[in-house]
Amino acid sequence: MGPGCLLLAAAACLLTAPVPVGAQELARCGQRDRFEEELVLKPLSTGDVAADFQFRTRWDVDLEQREAQALKVSHYRLFPKSLGQVISKYSVRELHLSFTQGFWRRRGWGQPFQQAPPGAELWVWFQKSVSNIDTTWKELTNVLSGLFCASLNFIDSTNTVTPTASFKPLGIINATDHKYLRYSILPREVVCTENLTPWKKLLPCGSKAGLAVLLKAERLFHTSYHSQAVHVRPVCRDDLCSSTSLELTQSLSVVFDLYASGFAKKEWSLFKMFSRTLTEVCPLASQSTIYVDLTDADKENEMYELTPTPLSQIRTTLHGQWRSYAVYDLLNPQLYSTPSQSLNIALKGKPAKQYREPVVPALHAERYVSGYGLEKGRVNTLIYNNHPYRGFPILLMETVPWYLRLYIHTLSITTRGKENKPSFIHYQPAKDRERSHLLEMLIQLPANSVTKISIEFERALLKWTEYPPDANHGFYVGSSVLSALVPSSVTMQANGTKSRPNFTKLFPSSDSSSYFVRIYTEALLVNLPTPDFSMPYNVICLTCTVVAVGYGSLYNLLTRTFQIAEPSDGLAKKIANVIRRMRGVPVL
């Protein structure tokens, strides 16, 4: 199908737009966009249950090409118009936005599909046509701030960085000149329902049908971890990759703390977690599936009962491991139980006889601040390589706000007591009130080792207006980012096989021997010395007085000369003389 033909089809769609879209139109125009949804339920080794939603809209339109030809895209079907317009207006090539509450406990919960740092994170690749990237970035963050009801408008030059190596485009890559990239993280952002509602509105079926029915804010924010994200990237339209499509992935992952909330038995169901059941499938979805991760249960030969019985199972590789999933295809009407027309997947299992040691992921990291007092401190990052026999390099990106003045000469990286010299360092020192520190390093991690990275910083005293409300709460420092290609223990399937579930296709992988992970460390909370906020007038008065004392004494000595003071008549004598004059007596 040539471009002319495409245009004709588009015109036909436009003409028929007011008419309710029938089956035929769907067949004709429906090829241009496609909506798929998935939910992966994964019991975690700590007894919690992780639920990962993936809503993927693929739109066969090349915005970049369209823009080059000055063609406006005005017809939207499944792709949300609000977001599409923003992407088109600001010439965005890739957009990744996440809002997260809580921290993914990597050691106990294992490897997530896609981790996000606490707070808000936004990174955008712009198209080459953008001339003034900083202005466009500023406008874009303000628009997104309105779109998602978030404080993204607080993104300015002091918390924006341009990483050189850590953030490569996730979509198809034409050129990666990192000057088109902007990255920002707002660790203080609090995520709540006002962020979830606009996010849900981007879905074609809203929260009315399909998996999105389960997204009940009241339950989602009653969890140990909540992360919602929007990823827009260009992907190959077909295997030949002759043209590109725009892919919007909306993902949401939550971790339900079922152990602590009284369900000590290994037992969960959709209703218990979400307080909803599935009733109908989203009619616009071309795929709607629920996967239940049974790998761990299978491995331990545990007794469990999954209702309703899954119709099929698949095995796939994820993060270097084989995993098996029970598959529920929601498009299959047999799934819904007859009386209530609803689907409530439930698992009943026996509690494990003995405590199961959680499977530690091959790579994890932790970070903390050491030192005491408000003068200086140290940021320490511990990176664990738990791979038994293979070392691999990682890229560490650290962004530290300007008010913590880093001293790069105090950077020390030690592995097993020996200095580990990074093979690449990119350091951009901060400028006061203008930009933050950016430190990127490529560090080789030996097999089965812990690497400690520490760097000293000095806490600055700020102007009294620069402190946020409740200044003694402290300042947040965004998570540092570790990117690595972790060697896989099994041969991975290469990308491109269509039968694989969507959640395995988040990061493009080039070879089958390793997989890409990006992990985030904890955000830090650092106290700064504070001035007395109630004192500005006093300070101005007192300091000016001291300066005036200096001025006054010097002025006195400079302008006056020494003279002999002639004793003048005292006050008493003057009064006595007045009285004497009145009496007619000679004056004294």
């Binding site: 003068e375 001291v546 004494s553 302008t559």
Partner: protein
Amino acid sequence: MAASLVLVLVAGVTVRAVLFRCPLLAEFISERVEVVSPLTAWKRVVEGLALLDLGVSPYSGNVFHETPFMIYIFHFLIDYAEFVFMTMDVLTAVALYMAVQDFNRITFLKQRFDYESKKYGTDVIDLIRTPKEMCHIPLKVALFYMLNPFTVLTCVAKSTCAINNAIIAAFMLATVKGSAFLSAIFLALSTYQSLYTITLFAPGLLYLAQKHYLFVSLKCPAFWAYSVKYAMMFLGCLLVTTCLSFFLLSSWDFIPSVYGFTLSVPDLTPNIGLFWYFFAEMFEHFRLFFLFVFQINVFFYTLPLSLKLRDHPMFFMFIQIAIIAIFKSYPTVGDVAMYMALLPMWSHLYRFLRNIFVVTCILITTSFLFPVLWHLWIYAGSANSNFYYAITLAFNVGQILLVSDYFYAYLRREYHLVKGLHLKNKAGRDAHIILK
């Protein structure tokens, strides 16, 4: 005489060397906010060198504020830094010693000339300085510099303030010896290092002009010619220094990073000065205005002082160095030590000092209270910033009183020298002298 100078120097070097041998103590001292400022901290010099090694311009960040010469010098001498700083202190002490010796010789000659030409009053024999009294003053100056705890701390902290002091001392020596060219070179270097010392141009010029027996008056063309010559030499040296530093890093980035930083005070790290808390608490709207008001203090007094102290350029230099130390944006105790070292030069003013006891008490007490209140605020959390701020205020009031007291005493002595010591008023009683 020379033997006792060597003894003082050896004692000073020993104290420093011992402190350098205690790494924990030396590190503690080198991070004291009273001793190092963002402009002079050794930690930042090391950071600048580390940035240079990484291929990043040291001026691209906001940590390094030294001049390119500093980075160039320490690029080679980083391993001998302790030796460099001790040498700097020794050089300063020797330069001050020689300068004061020469100055005293000239002062004595001048006094004799004035006395013999009957310029002085009749009963001023008590005020006349004797060779016996003046003999030990150079040594005392060297001693005051070498063994002043402030200087020792500055040296042990490897604060580059010690280098600035050495340049100022060299400038004083060159000026006293009458070498206009060397004087201009050191003045340019000093200006290049710390900007505020440009105000020493006026006393330097006055001293040199008098040394060359020029009549200091705006009506005198020879004085004009000499001023222009000196100014040209100074500006030429400054230009050469600046251009050389441009070629060292082939960028002008150091100008905003060093001089812009000095003048606009963006870093509010506490120090012993008046700026940090004032600008931390300043209303944003008035910031620029008060920045001008505060910065102008250093430069403001130069012109009236050069009129008032036209015949006493050395004392003018002392007052101006003290004013710089009080009103500069990032002062450290090293700057205070510089003018305190010159106090023995004016020991003959003692009888006219009014509140030297109070001032001494203020300065000593506040010096001890700085670390205490810093600890209470930053580490113990039982005090807040106001406590430390109060001490800086008291310390600066003390300094101001000290300087104005010496200024008063100097003028008073000059007055008595001419008018006579025991003045009577019209009524025949002992006169009460006042400023009018």
